[in-house]
Symmetry: C2
């Protein structure tokens, strides 16, 4: 992972605003202070007041909490290109933890560096706000899925979203994405038990809606999966339609 990828943040923010060459240069510079976070390690812990803003360049991270009962609840995925808490400064402390689900490469950005962007790079600022709003929209969809979809549809919906988000930062190859997460992690993200995740995954595989073997998730017919899940991508506010590579192969009927 993370070898010759283009800076994912730039790929992502292109969906939110038109970025000039100078904008992109500046973004590249922002992500210069890099660090590796081991899997299962926290990036920010609940109650802290983080000094810096974190940007995920590679790997999977998530927002989560542990309830009194001891169960974990995952509230969001941070994928390559995603930024954590652009403006925690306003709230003083953070009300949940951010942890690395896999080994992650992250960049630390001093808040001042963001403020300094304001004058010369308004497009970047707009793109950053755009991404915040999209995060909120995703949160709302998750809430809907959690409340009103059966486990199988919910999981399918999650896979659709993940696939599209990964596609938007060019992490889809041959209808597949790297997905080195355990079923227990999936359980905590869709709010069901790990055992039931297992059952539902088998069902989705049997229906040929997904392939999930080893550490790679494959979606051969995205439209069918989306249909099953009741997924519509409009809430992601992505600029382009799906990249052709991510689409199922054409049949010459």
């Amino acid at each position: 992972m993370g070898r010759s990828h283009m800076n994912a943040m730039i790929l992502k923010l292109r969906h939110g605003a038109h970025l000039s060459h100078s904008d992109e240069e500046r973004l590249r510079a922002l992500a210069s202070e890099r660090r590796i976070v081991a899997a299962h390690e926290d990036i920010i812990r609940e109650g802290e007041r983080p000094e810096n803003i974190y940007l995920v360049l590679d790997g999977y991270a998530c927002r989560y909490t542990i309830l009194d009962s001891g169960v974990r609840s995952i509230m969001a995925y941070l994928l390559p290109g995603d930024i954590c808490d652009l403006h925690v400064a306003l709230l003083g402390f953070i009300d949940h933890s951010i942890g690395a689900l896999t080994r992650c490469e992250v960049a630390e950005i001093p808040p001042q560096a963001i403020d300094d962007l304001g004058a010369d790079h308004p497009a970047i600022i707009r793109a950053l706000w755009w991404s915040t709003l999209v995060d909120e929209a995703i949160l709302r969809r998750w809430l809907v899925s959690m409340g009103r979809r059966r486990a199988d549809q919910h999981l399918a919906h999650f896979f659709c979203e993940l696939y599209m988000r990964m596609d938007s930062v060019e992490r889809v190859r041959e209808c597949s994405i790297q997905f080195p997460l355990t079923q227990e992690v999936l359980a905590d993200t869709i709010g069901i038990s790990a055992v039931h995740v297992n059952r539902v995954l088998q069902q989705l595989r049997e229906m040929r809606l997904i392939g999930l073997y080893g550490k790679t998730l494959t979606i051969h017919d995205f439209d069918r999966l989306a249909e099953f899940a009741g997924f519509s991508s409009h809430y992601l506010h992505l600029k382009d339609r799906m990249r052709s590579e991510a689409l199922p192969p054409k049949r010459d009927t």
Copy 2:
């Protein structure tokens, strides 16, 4: 309702920043263009690109969607003092509807008026961002409740949050708030069936955790309810502890 209340937005934003007299004057001016929305009417419909920013001054409104299956999912409550979509402009269209659950008094604010605040009233800008971040935190808590709490705890948690938010804009009187909503509305906010809402409400009443008769919700012992729900108010990022009037009467033990 809505007779001699202080402008709820000002009460709310005081939690997010210190507002000068001049700031408050300016806020009062913002809410001058008022309108009544009838119960069950939409304020903004999914897919639209709203011209103005809406501010709820009185009544209950909500964000919601209708799924393909026909069920409604309520994703947020807009209480007096709450603002809808400060920055939809960035996204182009809105991916859910906003509707009045009861008769509402709303103010329409042209986006330009917000931009103009930037120069002279930085505290207002900060307070507005604060409120956006709190909205997001609330969304995350809802997600956790939806995924990991039983219906009874979930409902109790919702009541705790509602009570505190209403208290923060001085809408609590004698441990009670106005709550003229049907059990079906509750069902769509908690993500369960209306029949089950009924059963759970009876249980909560029997445990003397809440009183809900007619159109008023009473919480005599907030701490007990919070304990039952696993509620902690930190995520609301409110400035003060609960107002004394909202607390249960002191016993001289």
